[in-house]
């Protein structure tokens, strides 16, 4: 049996508190997400949802515990190695889209593949295909400011999935969208992830999204952390 896309064990992350001590910000005893599986992680504000994604992505180092992506350990690696592992295996969909304003839609999608090993189609072709897939075939040369909010989110989805990552992390992907757009976005994200056979981990506090997922888990605020 192959390794799961994501394996988390005894993961803890602390932040400094104003009193000079450390505050527990994240406490996840165990979490697995299989390849091609979609998981929604709900939690209240302050439960550590974004911190969880950042630690899984290697953007933040873990203080304790382990994170493995496709069998490769993320925790314990140097920053540069974490960056490389992230580039190789993870697509990240941000709450605020995080598109670079100076790049076109095509270039923004290409950017997601610029720092990972190339396999299959050229990054430009893969980016173009991904934009076609999210219905932006006629907006490839538009800059983010020339796109609607929904179109920007679709570009962000294309960027997260164009490189066929093992794991897609989505942080409150619908919080900036109205209901109709949120539905379209989630439909697109889940179907695209399924086509790409990518594991999908969505964190949200939007209860209306839960019905879209067969598997939903709750991230409890760590004991001792401010709720």
């Amino acid at each position: 049996m192959s390794d799961p896309a994501l394996r988390v064990r005894d993961l803890k992350k602390h932040y400094p508190d104003p009193g000079g001590g450390r505050m527990l910000a994240l406490d996840v005893p165990s979490l697995d997400v299989g390849r091609g599986e979609a998981l929604c992680m709900r939690g209240e504000s302050g439960s550590g949802k974004t911190t969880l994604l950042n630690v899984i992505a290697g953007i933040l180092p873990a203080d304790e515990g382990t994170v493995e992506i496709a069998g490769e350990r993320m925790t314990g690696l140097s920053e540069t190695r974490r960056d490389a592992l992230r580039a190789r295996h993870i697509g990240y969909l941000f709450q605020t889209f995080n598109l670079l304003p100076g790049l076109t839609a095509l270039e923004n999608v290409q950017l997601g593949m610029s720092f990972r090993p190339r396999h299959g189609a050229s990054p430009r072709k893969a980016a173009s295909d991904a934009l076609d897939r999210v219905g932006l075939a006629d907006r490839k040369r538009h800059r983010p400011a020339q796109l609607s909010v929904g179109q920007q989110q679709r570009v962000a989805i294309a960027r997260a999935l164009a490189g066929h990552p093992t794991l897609v992390l989505a942080d409150e992907p619908t919080s900036n969208l109205d209901r109709n757009l949120a539905d379209q976005c989630m439909e697109l994200l889940t179907s695209f992830a399924a086509e790409s056979e990518a594991a999908l981990l969505v964190v949200t506090h939007d209860e209306t999204l839960l019905e879209r997922f067969e598997r939903v888990e709750t991230l409890a605020a760590p004991v001792g952390s401010p709720a």
Binding site: I59, D83, A87, G102
Partner: protein, 483 residues
């Protein structure tokens, strides 16, 4: 997306700041190139031209540098004349290959009219060591009294004269026009020498101009001699000669005077002369005769010259020839142009080098400006850097992007500066040739390669601090606020 592509797009996104930063570098580079071109152009132009003659005969009391500048570069004033005999003696000297007489003072629409002989076009060379004779379209003038002329390339362009045209000249810088007309029989192609801006006529015709024929040595010296003789004579006669020393200014152009014929009843008359040079023409040259004297005009031997350019049969003979002149030729001094120009640049060169360094510092200042500009942008680019990192860019990628931006600014600014600098040189070259006889060499050279190399190093160096600052950008904090 390559590092270069990302850096380029980042610069494009901050278009105005990027352009202004590149312009500051371009200006520094352009100024450096222009100043170095001016410095080197002036020096090489003067040194090259100075090699045209082995020595120049000029008046003893004139500035040696003035003699060289006036004769070879057609700038400045001579400050006196020398006897015609000096030319004849030089021509007959067995050491001399070419003796070229010069008589100056008239102008053609801002260009010096030079009375000389066709030997000038044989003796002088262009920067490629081709005799000026070969640059003449048409033919050289006949040495004699035919009113023919050869015009330098720049003078022809400025005056619009071409083969077959006729022209008149004015006296000095004044508006008084001589009645004589010269026919253009030759037009020189541009040679990159001061000859480009000269108008050359047979020296014989120069003295045929009404008002030019009285010649001789320096006016003041002549006057003193005449006054002394006159005083001696008066002393002998025991009375002051009333009305003596009645000077008269000549009609029309307030300068010398025409004397026809060979005899003068006044034994002093043969000495009446005027300095025939550009300086003297603005003066009113009194021509004094004792009362009752009837002045008839001087012989050709009495005519004066501004200078004589000497090309020896071998440069080795130079010192011997100068010594001979010093011993034998009376009121004439022999000046070695190369020595004069070398002494001139011994004084000027350190200043020129210092100026070059000062201007080159502008490039460094512009480089520091680039660093400050990039450094300041980092604070506003934290989110961009965090996004890059989040999608997989390693620290070295971020570092490379920022350094590449600095490199692009320095290289593109530098390339623009090189073009602007050479464009400036091209624009000012005709002016300098016209006004100072300096020929600026056009085209790219080792300086451009050196500047390009310096700019690459500068770009790498000034990009380090902003890049290091970019590396320190916390990714998570700048993607979105942590919970």
């Amino acid at each position: 997306m390559t590092i270069l592509g990302l850096a380029w797009r980042s610069l494009k996104q901050r278009r105005l700041a990027s352009i202004l930063t590149a312009v500051s570098i371009a200006l520094g580079v352009a100024l450096t190139i222009a100043v170095v071109a001016l410095r080197d152009g002036a020096e090489s132009s003067y040194r090259d031209t100075a090699r045209g003659y082995d020595c120049i005969l000029g008046p003893t009391h004139g500035s040696t540098l003035d003699i060289v500048l006036n004769t070879m570069f057609h700038v400045g004033d001579m400050g006196g004349t020398i006897p015609w005999d000096s030319y004849e003696e030089a021509k007959a000297d067995e050491m001399v290959k070419y003796a070229v007489p010069y008589a100056v003072g008239d102008m053609l629409r801002g260009h010096h009219v030079v009375g000389t002989t066709s030997d000038m076009f044989r003796a002088l060379m262009d920067p490629d060591n081709v005799p000026l004779m070969e640059s003449i379209r048409g033919r050289v003038f006949k040495d004699g009294k035919d009113f023919e002329a050869v015009i330098g390339g720049l003078a022809a362009a400025n005056t619009g004269l071409t083969l077959g045209d006729k022209f008149r000249v004015t006296h000095g810088v004044g508006m008084v026009e001589h009645a004589e007309e010269w026919l253009v029989v030759g037009v020189m192609k541009p040679t990159g020498t001061p000859a480009d801006r000269g108008v050359f006529v047979p020296i014989e015709t120069f003295y045929e101009i009404e008002g030019h024929q009285a010649a001789g040595d320096d006016v003041a010296q002549r006057r003193e001699e005449r006054a002394a003789k006159r005083a001696e004579r008066e002393k002998e006669h025991g009375h002051a000669h009333d009305g003596d020393d009645h000077g008269h200014a000549h009609d029309g152009d307030d300068h010398g005077h025409a004397h026809d014929g060979d005899d003068c009843e006044d034994p002093d008359c043969e000495d009446h002369g005027h300095a025939h040079d550009g300086d003297a023409h603005g003066d009113e040259h009194d021509h004094a005769h004792a009362e009752g004297e009837e002045c008839v005009h001087g012989t050709k031997e009495e005519l004066g010259l501004s200078a004589v350019g000497i090309r020896l049969k071998s440069p080795i003979l130079r010192l011997r020839y100068v010594a001979d002149v010093r011993n034998d030729r009376g009121p004439v001094q022999a000046v070695i142009p190369q020595d004069q120009i070398r002494e001139l640049f011994d004084v000027i060169s350190p200043i020129g080098k210092l100026l070059t360094w000062i201007v080159a510092l502008m490039i460094v200042v512009a480089g520091v400006g680039t660093m400050v500009s990039l450094y300041n942008t980092i604070a506003g680019r934290r989110r961009e850097i965090a996004i890059l990192r989040a999608v997989g860019a390693r620290p070295r990628h971020v570092f490379s992007i920022i350094v590449t931006e600095a490199l692009l600014l320095c290289i593109l600014g530098g390339l623009a500066g090189i073009l602007i600098g050479h464009g400036t040189v091209i624009l000012i070259a005709p002016y300098l040739l016209d006004k100072a006889g300096v020929f600026l060499s056009l085209g790219f050279g080792t300086l451009d390669v050196a500047i390009a190399g310096v700019l690459v190093v500068l770009g790498l160096v000034v990009g380090l601090l902003p890049a290091w600052q970019g590396l320190r950008t916390p990714v998570a904090e700048n993607l979105h606020p942590t919970e």
